[in-house]
């Protein structure tokens, strides 16, 4: 847990390689590396270079508009922002307890999103690396290549995502950027026809999700030398944990552990998150660096997302996913597994859990109820936290007496993983770049490390696992020595 390789001592004497843009992370990202004459790595940084401004421009807008407005942050998991904002505004409209129907409908929407987002990431974006190899033939290392070599896997990926999108459509009104969740509840329930349509497919969705866990488990365990060490770093980890220590994506309290798995804090009401989490600004990135306040900036950073969640919870409430969680924990050998590539394995365990929860919810008649809204005593401030596909997501708002937003603070999942992704990229650069000429395969190793976290780097819908990258090698005078450029159009 150090900032080794973050800042070189004498950068003016080093060559700079820029990977710009890496791809979209709520905007654009780039990786810069500084090398000496022997190609030794002295500095590696993952920069998020674009300023989004949502926290600023929603100020002055009416609060009820916010859940629909802020979801435009993202095109892959907008439901996360939709629901995190709704939860924060539940506190503001005094809806401390939603109606059973509203809570279950929101949960259904969210687990549908978790299913589709995880399926998209694993099958469309990552499976080409995992099935063909990180530096395999670049012309085949894409979803089309997967469809040609493994048509059944590719087909299931498409249909799993489609099912998740359908769950979102019937709960939110649209597959992307719907309006279903409102402060205090939801605006629609399911019709019998909508429920029955989903019930028709859910059983093979559960089975396909189980198969996906087994696929990545096999890939991982067949090459432990690579999968347990690639980009590895040790860190704290944090997530929401549900009632009784269950894995829960929609609601719970905050729990954090250190790199050995020891509890740092637990049962923390997220309305009080600022007592536990603080954000640091560094001059070279537009993305903040959150850390656990009690530990401090140097050692307090953490990782979030599937690898954190699956190892942070005590159990998973659905049987198939719990069985897979136990196998994963057994494989890890009683200590937290920190390997970034293990994100893929845990991500598929989560997808299986999402499918099982959807199946259970579809048998609950509360989904058909019209009792959708709760009200209570009005407040002027609220915090909403949810486990988005990529990790813990914080939305915090204040409103004035006239119902307008006066303050917004968003800590998105990718932000929580900022230091963690930097560490992974540094490890890969040390391990694979050292003394070598820049190649496409090297670029993809850096991509693979970033992609394991499923940041919004890889969430651009048109990227399809092929991040546009540009690498330029310049001598100390700034003269271009070697350049490689790859855009999604090139393939």
């Amino acid at each position: 847990m150090s900032y080794h390789l973050e800042t070189a001592e004498n950068p003016e004497k080093l060559r700079r390689i820029a990977i710009d843009p890496v791809s979209r992370v709520e905007g654009h990202g780039k990786v810069t590396l500084l090398l000496d004459d022997q190609n030794k790595v002295h500095q590696v940084r993952l920069h998020i270079v674009e300023f989004r401004g949502f926290e600023k421009f929603i100020q002055g807008r009416p609060y009820w508009e916010v859940p629909v407005l802020v979801q435009r942050l993202c095109g892959i998991c907008p439901v996360s922002h939709h629901l995190a904002a709704s939860k924060a505004l539940d506190a503001i409209v005094g809806a401390r307890h939603l109606t059973p129907a509203a809570e279950k409908l929101r949960r259904l929407m969210h687990y549908g999103q978790m299913l589709q987002s995880h399926a998209l990431h694993f099958f469309h974006l990552s499976s080409p690396d995992l099935l063909f190899g990180f530096d395999s033939d670049v012309t085949r290392r894409n979803i089309v290549g997967v469809a040609q070599e493994h048509p059944e896997i590719a087909k299931r990926g498409v249909l799993l995502r489609k099912f998740g999108q359908e769950v979102i459509r019937v709960t939110a009104g649209k597959r992307v950027h719907g309006t279903g969740s409102v402060p205090g509840g939801v605006n629609k329930s399911l019709t019998v026809a909508e429920r029955d349509q989903l019930l028709k497919d859910i059983y093979h969705i559960v089975q396909w999700s189980r198969d996906a866990v087994h696929l990545i488990q096999q890939v991982h365990t067949q090459d432990p030398g690579l999968y347990n060490s690639f980009g590895i770093f040790r860190s704290n980890f944090m997530s929401l944990v549900g009632h009784g220590g269950d894995l829960d994506f929609y609601h719970g309290t905050l729990r954090a552990r250190d790199d050995n798995g020891k509890i740092l804090f637990d049962h923390v009401d997220y309305q009080d998150y600022q007592s536990y989490i603080e954000e640091e600004v560094r001059p070279w990135s537009y993305m903040k660096f959150p850390y656990i306040r009690a530990i401090g900036k140097e050692q307090g950073w953490y990782k979030v997302g599937p690898l954190a969640r699956v190892q942070n919870c005590d159990q998973i409430a659905t049987p198939f996913a719990e069985q897979e969680r136990r196998e994963f924990v057994d494989y890890a050998g009683g200590a937290p597994l920190h390997a970034p590539l293990a994100y893929h394995w845990t991500r598929m365990i989560e997808m299986l859990h999402a499918a099982e929860v959807i199946k259970d919810l579809l048998h609950d008649d509360d989904l058909l109820s019209d009792d959708l809204m709760a009200h209570g005593e009005r407040a002027l401030e609220g915090v909403g936290v949810i486990e988005a596909p990529r990790g813990t997501l914080f939305h915090h708002y204040r409103v004035d007496e006239n119902d307008l937003i006066t303050m917004a603070n968003l800590i998105v999942s990718t932000t929580n993983n900022n230091q963690a992704m930097n560490e992974a990229v540094r490890h890969v650069a040390r391990r694979y770049l050292h003394g070598r000429e820049v190649t496409e395969g090297l670029l993809n190793h850096i991509e693979v490390a970033i992609r394991a976290f499923d940041p919004c780097l890889s969430c651009a819908t048109h990227a399809l696992g092929q991040m546009p990258l540009a690498v330029e090698l310049r001598d100390p005078d700034g003269t271009l020595v070697h350049a490689l450029r790859r855009s999604s159009e090139d393939r």
Partner: protein, 232 residues
């Protein structure tokens, strides 16, 4: 109603005093419009209902029908002009449909769809317009005002309150609240006023309602604007 005129080749009956738009609407023929409302005197300002009468442009909401006149409305040229007018309305204000609670219920948006508007085309003005959230029940979002003056006419002619007015000239024309403070809370406006319910866009918002109506049940989800019975 034995008198008729011809609209796009179709014979349209009309009564004495009826405008082209009124007669066409009564006959079930849709002519796009935004500032026209059947309960108010025609205003003739948005120009969206422009037609060609005997080859000359005129606003169909103000032009009275006369026997034998030949009117062109649903032609490629006229619709292209209407589309440009709608595009100008979009760029003059701040119309962000994706986050607007009136989306699906908005006549401007529905008309843009009906006319096949695919982009704003013109450069956005991005005007800076503050909201008026002072009233406990109704919020005014001036970003979306298209200066149709329906709220002005409704407040003055139906509510008898004269709460609203258009102020300024030309491109600087804007909707204002008739109060020393300029705030809605300092007027005798009531949410039950006619003025609160005639806005064709999203200026007048009932507070805390937001997105209560789900997608699929909004006014123009069910049918496009040119086929909805109440519009006809």
């Amino acid at each position: 109603m034995s008198q008729t005129f011809t609209l796009d080749g179709q014979s349209i009956p009309f009564a004495d005093g009826q405008t082209i738009l009124q007669a066409a609407t009564a006959a079930g023929v849709f002519i796009p419009h935004l500032c026209y409302h059947p309960e108010f005197k025609p205003h003739g300002s948005c120009k969206l209902c422009t037609v060609k009468v005997n080859g000359r442009h005129t606003a169909s909401c103000t032009m009275r029908a006369t026997p034998g006149m030949t009117v062109e409305s649903n032609t490629e040229d006229i619709n292209a002009e209407r589309r440009s007018l709608v595009q100008m309305l979009f760029v003059e204000g701040n119309h962000f449909c994706p986050a607007c609670e009136q989306s699906g219920n908005c006549k401007l948006q529905a008309t843009a769809y009906q006319l096949g508007m695919m982009s704003p085309h013109f450069d956005h003005f991005f005007p800076s317009r503050a909201l008026d959230a002072s009233h406990p029940e109704v919020l005014l979002d001036f970003n979306r005002c298209i200066l149709c003056s329906l709220c002005v006419r409704a407040s003055r002619d139906v509510d008898g309150k004269n709460v609203f007015a258009l102020s300024g000239r030309g491109i600087k024309t804007r909707l204002i609240v008739n109060a020393g403070s300029g705030r809605l809370a300092d007027t005798n406006f009531s949410p039950a006023d006619k003025a609160a319910g005639v806005c064709p866009v999203g200026v007048f918002l009932k507070k805390r309602r937001g997105f209560a109506v789900p997608i699929g049940e909004r006014r123009y989800d069910k049918a496009p604007i040119d086929s909805i019975a109440e519009e006809i």
